[in-house]
């Protein structure tokens, strides 16, 4: 027992020694702390005051969009904006309160700012206000000491020099939604925009660029002492469209106050040289936020200004569908250039009577004449002979009712019915349904873009597809050369017969499009008019002897015209739809005439801008338009 006690006291001695040593170490630490916190306090307090380096990301400049000759159609304009770096502010709430006292910010924006300050990483600045005016700027500058963390800097806003003139094709940008910003921190940066429609949306990734950063030295009040490092990031790539701003302007002027759409293609490549949809809107408004009354005006407008009718407007093609029916019939072997069918002005199928246009009797005619005078009865009979599925098959070949793989968002496929489709949709298909299909009525619904593709394919015999971006970052896109497109696979003799019919439409006095013939020497246009009913006339209306001209606007037929030129060496293809414009020859063909004349005189296809020049230096102010 004594041994144990001795041993234990030895342990206690050693344990106390160890404890004493530890106490001494703690004493040393306390002494060192005294030295740091008391003796050297003033030195370190000063250092804390001067601290320190902070880094924040900055949004890259969004890439420009130009027409094929370098005219900027979507650019960036500088403006002043206020940002908030919460990492620099000891009391963010107080700073925000002070800021809101000085600068008027709408309550919903204040709520958004509070949410952003709460949720976003500290190195991502929060946008307080865009488009600062001079009083705002002055107020912020004078009160800088009360606003630690508030920065005023140059931001870029998206501007569209052509305004409504190219709004649908180019599209517009808007601030990313809260959700998008959450999924991708880069989008949370003030100034970042996301393309919502058109090329802005389709080419968004190329246009966005890579963010840079700014390193600043700040003091404890959040005031920037100096900028340590600056990396502007990589601006987005320039997207050069195939669009010719001159042609585009002509298309817009041609449509004027009418509702409708125009698409002009390079018939050999499918490049979109002009694409207009009317009425239009000002895309610049989206960058700042569209005022509610303007937005409601757009939404409630019966002419749907926000819709790109060229790519997503669905119209019955009317007589512009006849060339496709003719090609289908020739391919099926039920029609050739010598086939003669008789038009007494009507066509009787069972109890039902189908009228020719205006009840005109065209007599016994061939397919070229039937196209020339747009005889309905001829094509009623052809449709019945060839059958609905053969027509749909040829439509697919011509680019109708199919996905065209266009480099644009929201392109509607349209519809060309087949028996399978009818069965799938519970529609009892009768012969009468096939009859009206022969003149592009009934269930058939197509976009102007598809009609332009059809006429381009008909003109060149190549399976061209429409595409709007010619270069991205200077790199020529696939499909810009005729060799990129395969043969259409339609018999050349059949194509020649139909082309002859379309030539006579425009260039013979009996042709329905004679009024639109070109006045240029040695160049002819071929085309097809279309007048598509949008309203089934009631028996009562028929009794009264209805007249398209006196109908209310919404019930008038749509006017269509498709054309290509030059006839002997096709280069340009155009499709025009004027909603409720009555006769195609009357309202649609003149637009095509003017555009075709411009195109043939200036010949924009196959040419483009030199790659150097204003298109590459986004930071510069917008240069004056050079191509017009």
């Amino acid at each position: 027992m004594r041994k144990i006690a001795r041993e234990r006291s030895a342990f206690t001695r050693r344990a106390l020694l160890i404890g004493g040593g530890q106490a001494a170490v703690f004493g040393g630490i306390a002494a060192r702390l005294y030295n740091l916190q008391i003796t050297q306090h003033s030195k370190y307090a000063l250092l804390a005051e001067q601290n320190s380096i902070s880094e924040r990301l900055v949004a890259p400049e969004r890439g420009l969009i130009t027409d094929r000759f370098g005219t900027i159609v979507a650019g960036n304009q500088q403006h002043w904006r206020a940002l908030f770096m919460q990492a620099m502010a000891p009391e963010p709430q107080m700073v925000l309160e002070n800021f809101f006292k000085l600068v008027s910010v709408p309550p919903e924006e204040q709520a958004r700012i509070a949410q952003d300050v709460q949720n976003r990483p500290r190195y991502i600045p929060v946008l307080l206000k865009d488009y600062l005016d001079w009083p705002d700027m002055a107020a912020i500058e004078i009160n800088t000491p009360n606003l630690p963390g508030v920065l005023v800097e140059v931001g870029a806003s998206r501007v569209y020099p052509l305004g409504p003139g190219l709004a649908h094709a180019v599209g517009y940008v808007a601030r990313p939604s809260q959700r998008e910003a959450k999924d991708d921190t880069v989008l949370a940066l003030p100034g970042m925009r996301v393309g919502r429609t058109g090329v802005e949306a389709y080419q968004d990734e190329s246009l966005r660029g890579v963010p840079g950063f700014v390193q600043t030295e700040t003091n404890v009040h959040g005031e920037v002492v100096r900028e340590v490092a600056h990396d502007a990031g990589t601006p987005g790539q320039t997207v050069t469209l195939a669009i010719d701003a001159g042609l585009q302007q002509l298309a817009v002027q041609g449509l004027g106050n009418e509702a409708g759409a125009v698409v002009m293609l390079d018939a050999t490549t499918g490049e979109v040289l002009a694409m207009a949809s009317s009425p239009s809107f000002d895309p610049s408004l989206f960058d700042k936020g569209v005022p509610a009354d303007v937005w409601n005006g757009w939404i409630n407008d019966p002419k749907h200004p926000l819709q790109n009718k060229a790519t997503s407007g669905l119209f019955a093609p009317g007589s512009t569908f006849k060339p496709t029916v003719a090609l289908a019939a020739m391919k099926a072997g039920v029609l050739d250039e010598t086939t003669i069918l008789t038009c007494p002005g009507f066509f009787k199928l069972g109890d039902h009577v189908f009228w020719c246009d205006n009840h005109t009797a065209h007599g016994s005619i061939t397919v070229t004449t039937a196209l020339q005078v747009s005889c309905d009865v001829f094509f009623y009979q052809v449709a019945l002979r060839v059958g609905i599925d053969n027509i749909a098959g040829m439509a697919t070949t011509m680019g109708l009712g199919v996905d065209l793989q266009a480099d644009m968002p929201n392109v509607a496929t349209g519809l060309v019915p087949t028996l399978d489709w009818a069965a799938a949709h519970g529609i009892h298909w009768v012969e009468g349904s096939t009859v009206v299909q022969g003149i592009g009525q009934g269930y058939t619904q197509l976009t102007p873009l598809a009609l332009a593709t059809m006429i381009a394919r008909l003109a060149t015999g190549r399976a061209v597809g429409p595409h709007i971006a010619r270069r991205v970052g200077g790199v020529l896109q696939d499909g810009s050369s005729p060799d990129d497109w395969p043969d259409l696979g339609v018999d050349d003799r059949h194509l020649a017969i139909v082309r002859q019919g379309l030539f006579e439409v425009v260039n013979t006095p009996n042709g329905t499009g004679y009024g639109a013939r070109l006045t240029l020497p040695n160049v002819q246009m071929a085309g097809k008019t279309g007048t598509a009913q949008t309203h089934d006339n009631t028996a009562a209306e028929k009794q009264q002897g209805f007249n398209d001209m006196t109908m209310v606007w919404e019930q008038r037929p749509n006017a269509l015209f498709v054309a290509y030129a030059p006839f002997d060496n096709p280069r340009y293809a155009v499709a025009v739809v004027v909603e409720h414009g009555n006769y195609g020859a009357q309202t649609a063909a003149p637009i095509a005439h003017d555009m075709m004349t411009y195109a043939l005189v200036n010949d924009p296809a196959g040419r483009d801008a030199p790659l150097a020049g204003p298109a590459q230096s986004g930071a510069q102010a917008l240069p004056p338009s050079s191509s017009l």
Binding site: L16, Q22, I29, L33, L36, Q37, Q40, Y44, A48, S52
Partner: protein
């Protein structure tokens, strides 16, 4: 200590006793100090998150409460049962170190972590406790003659060197040194001769240049930036400079809770873990720092009291090891924060954010409390067996 001897033998020797009595025997002052320290940790982490229980403070306090319950549970277990588990625990610790070497995931260039049932554990943290237990079991019936005999001590040295070597291999220099120091302290408590330690220290001092040569690059970088923090103010020396500024700008009374500029402006990366002490020092000043130092030392002192008041060798040695472990955590972390020793990734126990260190420390405290509760129990000696 003379008081202990004066006590009647009846009270010195407990054989077994009930739960209520055990609960009364718990060193509640110690528990109160530990809880107070955890409270300080909550306040610091709340401030580190810019005045929010998310994402640090709330999770940490929940883990603490859970581990406190576990520790009190361990305190109810008879220390003789724990003693029987010493060598198996040691073996498991070494096994875990081997597992982490083979399958562990890499954090900051070192393989230290393994995941068990969704919980990340750092085997080297557990090893420190298991080593103390293993050594204590080895020495629990050793006579002074044996502890003075090098041949008897050699297996104990081997038991220390195996885990130290494995931890060095991870590589985790800081924890390896701490583990070795704990082993040495237990040997010292067991009665191994003073001058042997002096000899070992001398050998290490002489071989330091060779050791430095074999250090990893990041370890060398720490030593170089420690010696001259200004050499790379935005790189490796950044932490040292920023933490000293935080401490120094605190002054006597601090900048006020939640108002420390160094903390709130995020000049300190990872401030919620290794550098959490700077938040207290900056926002509560020298008074706050001294308060935390006092609390830390109170815990060390109470652990030493448990060691000294314990009647059996096993309890004394384990308690000494646990108190040493806690002391070394504090010493290394505080010295690092103040720029006294190279930065080493050692947290300050119960204050720093992180589960692994908390788990290890609280398991140790559980054993320590069990020793305190059972400080008068009698171990069956070899003569009685």
């Amino acid at each position: 200590m003379s008081l202990d001897h004066a006590r009647p033998r009846r009270r010195l020797r407990d054989h077994s006793f009930g739960l209520a009595r055990k609960l009364m025997r718990v060193n509640w002052l110690f528990v109160a100090c530990v809880c107070a320290l955890a409270g300080v940790g909550y306040a610091a982490l709340y401030s580190a998150a810019g005045g929010s229980p998310e994402p640090y403070a709330e999770g940490q306090i929940i883990r603490f409460v859970a581990m406190l319950a576990v520790a009190l549970g361990i305190a109810m277990v008879d220390i003789r049962t724990i003693a029987k588990a010493s060598w198996p625990a040691y073996a498991v610790g070494v096994l875990l170190l081997l597992v982490v070497m083979k399958f562990g995931h890499t954090g900051l260039g070192a393989k230290r972590w393994i995941t068990v049932g969704g919980m990340e554990i750092q085997p080297s943290e557990l090893m420190k406790l298991f080593l103390a237990m293993g050594l204590a079991a080895y020495f629990k019936r050793a006579t002074p003659e044996q502890t003075g005999n090098l041949v008897f001590v050699l297996p104990a040295l081997a038991a220390i060197l195996v885990p130290v070597a494995l931890i060095l291999k991870e590589p985790n220099l800081g924890t390896a040194v701490i583990t070795g120091a704990i082993g040495a302290t237990v040997l010292l408590g067991a009665g191994v001769r003073w001058w042997w330690f002096a000899l070992v220290v001398a050998v290490i001092a002489l071989s330091a240049p060779i050791l430095y040569h074999h250090l990893h690059d990041y370890q060398k970088a720490r030593i170089i930036t420690f010696l001259n923090p200004g050499s790379d103010p935005l790189g490796a020396g950044y932490n040292i400079i920023q933490s000293q500024i935080a401490l120094g700008s605190g002054g006597l009374t601090g900048q006020g809770y939640l108002h420390g500029t160094q903390n709130q402006l995020n000049f300190l990366p990872e401030k919620q873990t290794d550098f959490v002490f700077t938040i207290i020092a900056e926002e509560f000043g020298y008074f706050g720092s001294l308060g935390v130092l006092g609390l830390l030392f109170a815990i060390i002192g109470l652990a030493l009291y448990t060691a000294v008041s314990c009647t059996h060798v096993y309890g004394r040695l384990v308690a000494l090891g646990i108190s040493t472990n806690f002391f070394l955590y504090c010493f290394v972390n505080l010295s690092m924060v103040m720029g006294l020793i190279p930065v080493g990734g050692v947290p300050i126990p119960l204050i720093s954010y992180g589960g692994s260190a908390l788990t290890a420390v609280m398991l140790g405290f559980g054993v320590l409390m069990s020793i305190h509760v059972h400080r008068y129990v009698e171990f069956a000696g070899p003569d009685e067996a």
